[in-house]
């Protein structure tokens, strides 16, 4: 009778029943192609348009400013490359941060090869981008600023409005990756002055394989997929009707209950953080203590390695994730934790716990109890002395790989 506890809700979330119920008819009953003009098509179209309206209402934009994609990765790639290539005549400079999701960073690197100039903003130790640094780098040929609303690893919520206002004053397009922030913080793109925003279905108890891009009217973007008239001709391909309907419902639900849900999550998260930090020595919280995602707790454990903790917890039925180099196939440690200046040994000893409303205090107690045992077991075989914790330095790895 092993207890199963899922604490990796920042990776993905289960589909909520309400969302599933809303999606079901679109698999078999309402099967028309939304692009068709007959009644079958019109019924499907109605579902898609309803989803568009729901998302627009949730983030405060017009329905026609929403474009559906296969996910936030696609949307982020599209924004960076699409806006850059469509605004080439205005300039060739892009500003982003070192904390971004790889879907932004890799797209920027690709643009660098094409001759664009990209500035990667640093972050302070809490994971905030500094406005003065942003102002310092903005220049007349800057065409795009992209900073994520809330970080997926350390959970720090950026001062989004301040960044958006800065971009607005300087007349630069501002994009934000709000995959984690939707449902955790109130976002109103019109009020905040956000020009472009991406979100994803599966982080909001919605279906996987669907995401959306909000792009303010009047911003030029190049086509992503050609060969279809869908989504204003910018992204061709038959729409994934059930997933889009599910996304619409999921966004609606999560923004509707945002205040009560985030309060509950915040209490659970703070309870967990307090328990861990007081009961296990040589631990620290990564990211800002207050201005962070309600469900995110990223903790660095001294002397031990994250993947080992993750696997040992997995044996006890507890699912978490880690920023350690070992856990990634590329054997690179978390770029976010490096960006906030964490020493190497703590980067590799960082574990992310992300909660959902279905987690209980009893579960948290159980996890803490197991965590204490696992950390003790691993510390007993650690070669790092207590006094050496946090002195891992930031030197390069020299091991043959």
């Amino acid at each position: 009778m092993e207890q199963k506890i899922y604490l990796d809700n920042a990776a993905t979330t289960p589909l909520s029943r309400e969302v599933l119920a809303e999606m079901m008819p679109y698999f078999d009953t309402v099967y028309g192609n939304p692009s068709s003009i007959h009644s079958f098509g019109r019924d499907a179209r109605a579902g898609v348009e309803q989803a568009r309206e729901r998302i627009a209402k949730a983030i405060g934009c017009r329905p026609s400013e929403i474009y559906f994609t296969s996910g936030a990765t696609e949307a982020n790639n599209w924004v960076i490359e699409g806006i850059a290539s469509a605004n080439k005549h205005k300039g060739n400079h892009i500003i982003t941060s070192r904390l971004e999701h790889p879907s932004i960073l890799e797209a920027c690197k690709k643009l660098e090869k094409q001759g664009f100039r990209v500035t990667y903003l640093n972050a302070d130790k809490n994971g905030f981008v500094r406005i003065d640094e942003l102002l310092h780098y903005v220049c007349p040929d800057t065409i795009l600023i992209s900073v994520m609303a809330a970080n997926n690893e350390i959970g720090t919520i950026q001062n989004l409005q301040a960044i958006a206002q800065t971009a607005k004053e300087k007349g630069v397009i501002f994009h934000t990756d709000a995959v984690q922030a939707i449902g955790a913080v109130n976002i109103n793109v019109a009020e905040m002055g956000i020009d472009s925003l991406t979100l994803s279905g599966h982080k909001l108890n919605g279906p996987k394989g669907v995401g959306a891009l909000y792009l303010r009217h009047g911003i030029a973007i190049s086509k992503l997929i050609v060969g279809g008239e869908q989504e204003n001709g910018l992204r061709g391909g038959t729409l994934n009707t059930p997933a889009i309907v599910g996304l619409g419902r999921a966004v609606e639900l999560i923004t509707r209950d945002i205040i009560i849900n985030s309060k509950k999550l915040r209490m659970l998260r703070d309870y967990f953080i307090n328990q861990v930090l007081t009961k296990i020595e040589l631990t620290q919280l990564n990211g800002h203590a207050i201005q962070r995602l309600p469900n995110n707790a990223n903790i660095a454990f001294g002397q031990v390695e994250g993947e080992a903790i993750m696997l040992m917890l997995d044996m006890q039925g507890i699912a978490v994730s880690t920023g350690s180099a070992c856990s990634s196939n590329k054997l690179e440690q978390s770029h976010v934790l490096s960006a906030i200046g964490l020493p190497n040994d703590l980067i590799n000893g960082s574990v992310r716990f992300s909660f959902s409303l279905s987690n209980t205090r009893q579960e948290v107690d159980y996890v803490v109890e197991k965590l204490i045992a696992v950390v003790k077991k691993l510390r007993d075989m650690s070669p790092i002395a207590k006094s050496q914790v946090g002195k891992g330095g930031n030197d390069e790895c020299t091991t043959r790989k």
Binding site: E305, L331, S382, G392, T399, R400
Partner: protein, 239 residues
Amino acid sequence: MYNEKVMKIFANPKNAGTLRGANGIGKVGNAACGDIMKIFLKIEDGIIVDAKFRTFGCAAAIVSSSVACELIKGMTVEQALGVTNRQICEEIGQLPSHKIHCSVLAEEGIAAAIKYYRRRMGLLEKKEKKQEAVKPRTLPAAKQEFDTKARDFSFTPVAETEKAEFAPAKQEESAPAAPVAKTSNFALELEAEEPLVVDLAYEAELLYAKQESYESKSSKATKTTTTTTTTTTKKINNE
């Protein structure tokens, strides 16, 4: 991603911990790689009677070090040096391809521990020294550079024999295996709360006798080497 055998060993690794009375200690890897491995060997009459490890790292690293310790127990020093990472991998079953370096680390850990042991013993029995089995990947240019540097400092006859030994040892610094100098220092820097691993008084005595001072001089001036070769200036008094 890991097979069942790996997970089974990982759940209950053998040979974890500090070995009391170890006379060979090797530390390899660094925090940037996510793996630090420390191997303790107890060698009696050229036979490894006990081996333990302390590893900071993922499951693959912990399992590799556990299996490596198990493998080399009862082997002679020479046999243990012959253990390759492939052997360790075979013992485990299979490691994911991006985790193979963990088994390499175990191989290097053993080599580093044995090297440490030999250096210590080498002082007492000079014959042992010739069996320097860990062959450094010497770059011809680097070696030459060392020799010229070495000539600048007048070496005593004793140092002349030492030089042959220490040239390769220092070359190793660019290689992943733990630098010998660091290893021996590490033994001294052991935490007070940790059980004493080696006879510290004995160790200190040895070090004092040798009066080694490794001063790394970066070879920026010479463009002959690509690796950061450090040269040593030392005065060795054999009392």
